[in-house]
Amino acid sequence: MATEKEEFEPLIVGITCNWCTYAAADLAGTSRLKYPPNIRLLRVMCSSRIHPSFILYSFARGADGVFIGGCHPRECHYIDGNYKALRRIELLRRMLEQFGIEPERLRLEWCSAAEGAKYAQVVTDFTAKLKELGPSPLRSG
């Protein structure tokens, strides 16, 4: 059992806005920072584009974690999209629990375009957290 857990590599679906967190992820690369290869990012223009169904669908498909990234409060490229994302995601988190998905599997972070280091840290922590939680209950592969 213990060995199996060690081998478990979680898959994280990340959805971020183009302007801040996606740029932070790019900066982490340009700065050659290292973080585990478990996350794959999708890019949308603003975190407010992220419909809760994208998150639910990712979990339904067996993703072990979903990462949502946007701009810091007051820095959204479209005025206040990130506040709207925040509200939706906090509501969704409560629902997840009722579906039997640990709410910690959904993570929301604001990383500015200058915060490559923060992005790398967040992904590192999140990956570790998911390893601790083990595979998603909805995962079959």
């Binding site: 898959l11 679906v13 959805i15 183009n18 996606y22 740029a23 992820a25 790019d26 900066l27 982490a28 690369g29 340009t30 050659r32 920072l33 290292k34 973080y35 585990p36 290869p37 794959r40 990012l41 999708l42 890019r43 949308v44 223009m45 603003c46 407010s48 584009r49 992220i50 419909h51 169904s53 994208f54 669908y57 990712s58 339904a60 498909r61 067996g62 993703a63 810091h72 007051r74 820095e75 959204c76 490229h77 479209y78 005025i79 206040d80 999209g81 709207k84 994302a85 939706r88 375009a113 790398a120 998603s136 995962r139 079959s140 592969g141």
Partner: protein, 706 residues
């Protein structure tokens, strides 16, 4: 006819996707940690991928040529480059597609460098991750649609908001290039804060001497429509055609003849001389000097037209001045204008200002006037104000009259100030003067965490200017760091140090009055010597920092510009697009974007005008192509999206009971799509189905077989 065309377009059969995947080595940048061959071969197995190639540098000319040839030969109609970030080269490859005759929105980038090869060293894991990324990109590519970019005409006029040094320079450049500029200033005169300064650092130029000729240039430029004592009330529309409403506040003195445009108020100043009120604190002197109710804010004002203060003038507040009432004045003015009587004959029926005004320009019935403008671009130059010194009560500003802030001292030093340039506090020349740096700024408690950038240099300048006037003054500057970063700043700092100014590292913790005298004691800790100090002073000057000007919230509300955490306007890119904003066609200049000195403000103003001139000169603007759409069939008219749209770009069609997107206003955040409960609101290029396909592809290995 147009509708028919639309129909025809829709029915055109969409060509089956034929995808070309080009995997880039990026020299060794990708190749070293990703198995390029494996990724290429894997790509070839994905749905509708007909070509999979790899190349050393796909972004190079020969690399792009490979793609162009494949498009031209009809082999592919979708392009994927697996290489760096789309934020870097998406525009490059969209250009490649356009050059080969393919709609640029059929291009897609798979980011396997910044987000893969560079951030982990395990080749096997990176190769698997790259495959996942390419697989998701192919899934998306299969569902892409062509998007036509809309080009609109640009009204060849610009609105500049704010008549300080930045707004003036932006206006002058655009007007001199031959385009019409509407310059709106909320105060009665242009000039801004610079006009309040005595000398400028580090060159010690006289601020008024270099500024006033430019003010005159603005005032008389045939292409500048100067709207002073006016405020922008409403901004609508979008790049190329903004509709703007400007409220002209009544001056109660006629500036120009509404028909001929000829100057009416000659600025003779007799109304001010005659005005019964004389003791109103003058805003220009920050209340240190006095003015009448009919006033010119400063002698060099442009326009040189007087203003009657509606909050102070007794005729306007009480309807009576001396024996004259509003009624009697109205009647008398009519009779004077018709030539029936002379002002002398009716002098009991009119206030003193009316009696003395030669050109008869006083009109107490003047009302607000709304001016409507259409402009192609907007430059926001709303400037800055001083941080409230009361936020640090330990410095006792407002408690002791011999605690001033930097701008107040500036007025005392200025020859056009309330003391004609003499430093006089309570009738006496101070001997011991202490400057406290970083007042307000660089401070979590006050909420202004940034460095205001000008205070070090202005205090050094102040120290010199005081020494010029009071040779035996003892001056101490209490600082935490001296920031002399600009051209010739360090040399200036060095020179002033040699004038016997005492620089002490360690900010003051407290200012208090010496018991039994009006001298002050400044107490703090010298962090260089590691010991406390107490310095006696006749005058304490707080080197107070800058914040966005009052009223900035209103500008944010009207223009939808974003602010950074410090509340200054947020530029589109901190390095490469420093005067552009998130709203196309709106630019920022000067201190509204962040504290800066005069040369930086002017440089930014010139940059903003040049950015504006690109639109005005070409007469064309490209509208955002990636915007929202609402499906007529799916929309249930719940109007959830309407309230959430940050730009009010969604309108309810009451007849059809559905939502409609205003394409000129939508900026493409996709918030409506993120909230729509029925899947009707969606965003071009980021459609729900495209995103689902990406998620599906990424989780392929995990999901139960469907």
């Amino acid at each position: 006819m147009a509708e028919e065309k639309e129909e025809a377009k829709k029915e055109e059969p969409v060509e089956e996707p034929k995808i070309g995947v080009y995997v880039c080595h990026c020299g060794i940048n990708i190749k070293n940690t990703v198995d390029i061959d494996a990724v290429r071969d894997y790509s070839a197995t994905l749905p509708n991928v007909v070509i999979a190639k790899d190349y050393m540098y796909v972004c190079s000319d020969p690399g792009q040529e490979i793609i162009k040839a494949d498009i031209r030969e009809g082999k592919i109609n979708r392009v994927i480059v697996a290489a760096c970030s789309p934020r870097l080269h998406e525009p490059t490859f969209r250009g490649t597609c356009i050059a080969a005759g393919l709609n640029p929105f059929f291009f897609e980038m798979a980011n396997i460098r910044e987000q893969c090869s560079w951030v982990w060293e395990d080749r096997a894991a990176n190769t698997e991750k790259s495959k996942d990324i390419v697989r998701a990109t192919v899934a998306r590519s299969n569902l892409l649609e062509p998007i036509e970019e809309k080009i609109v005409d640009v009204v060849p006029e610009t609105l500049v908001i704010g008549g300080g040094i930045s707004g003036m320079y932006a206006a002058l450049d655009i007007a001199s290039a031959g385009y019409k500029v509407h310059l709106v200033e909320r105060l009665p005169s242009i000039g801004g804060h610079m006009l309040q300064f005595d000398k400028t650092f580090p060159t010690l130029d006289c601020a008024a001497c270099i500024l006033t000729p430019r003010m005159v240039d603005v005032g008389k430029h045939p292409n500048i429509n100067l709207l002073t004592y006016s405020e922008v009330e409403e901004v609508g529309g979008s790049v190329g055609n903004f509709t703007v409403k400007v409220r002209r506040k009544p001056r109660y003195i006629v500036e120009k003849d509404p028909v001929t445009g000829a100057i009416v108020c000659t600025g003779c100043g007799l109304c001010a001389t005659e005005c019964r009120l004389k003791k109103i604190p003058n805003e220009f002197d920050l209340g240190l000097g006095l003015r009448p109710a009919a006033y010119l804010p400063m002698p060099q004002a442009v326009p040189a037209c007087y203003t009657i203060d509606p909050e102070k003038c007794i005729m306007l507040t009480k309807g009576k001045c001396g024996k004259a009432t509003l009624e009697s004045t109205r009647e008398a003015i009519k009779r004077i204008k018709s030539g029936e009587v002379t002002p002398e004959q009716v002098k009991d029926e009119i206030p003193l200002c009316v009696a003395t005004c030669g050109p008869n320009c006083i009109d107490f019935d003047m009302k607000d006037e709304i001016v409507e403008l259409n402009v192609g671009t907007i430059i926001v130059a709303t400037g800055t104000d001083v941080i409230d010194p009361n936020l640090q009560p330990e410095y006792k500003y407002g408690v002791y009259p011999n605690v001033l802030h930097g701008l107040e001292l500036e007025r005392l030093l200025a020859p056009n100030g309330p003391t004609q340039g003499k430093v006089i506090i309570k009738g006496k020349e101070p001997r011991d003067i202490v400057f406290v740096q970083c007042a307000g700024s660089r401070n979590k408690q006050t909420g202004y965490e940034y460095c205001s950038r000008v205070c070090c240099m202005y205090s050094i300048k102040h120290a010199h200017l005081i020494k010029e006037r009071i040779h035996d003054a003892n001056i101490s500057i209490l600082y935490q760091d001296i920031r002399a970063y600009g051209k010739a700043f360090e040399e200036f700092y060095d020179r002033i140090k040699g004038e016997g100014i005492n620089f002490r590292r360690g900010l003051a913790s407290e200012v208090y009055q010496k018991p039994g005298s009006d001298r002050l004691v400044v107490r703090g800790e010298d962090t260089m010597l590691g010991e406390p100090y107490e310095i006696e002073a006749d005058l304490v000057v707080l080197a107070t920092g800058l914040r966005p000007a009052d009223g900035v919230e209103k500008v944010v509300e009207m223009t939808k510009l974003a602010q950074s955490a410090d509340k200054f306007f947020l530029e589109a890119h901190p390095k490469l697009r420093p005067v552009d904003t998130a709203v196309d066609g709106i630019f920022v200049a000067g201190c509204c974007q962040g504290p800066k000195d005069i040369p930086d403000s002017v440089a930014q103003a010139k940059a903003a005008s040049s950015a504006s001139l690109i639109y005005l000169g070409t007469g064309k603007a490209k509208l955002e192509a990636i915007i929202s759409e609402v499906s007529e069939d799916l929309c249930t008219g719940c109007r959830t999206c309407e309230a959430l749209c940050p730009y009010d770009a969604l309108e309810f069609d009451a007849e059809k009971k559905i939502m409609k997107v205003n394409e000129a206003i939508c900026k493409g955040c996709g918030c409506c799509g993120g909230t729509c409960p029925s899947g009707a609101a969606s965003m071009r290029h980021f459609r729900d189905l495209q995103i689902y396909a990406q998620i599906e592809a990424l989780t392929e290995a995990l999901a139960p077989p469907s």
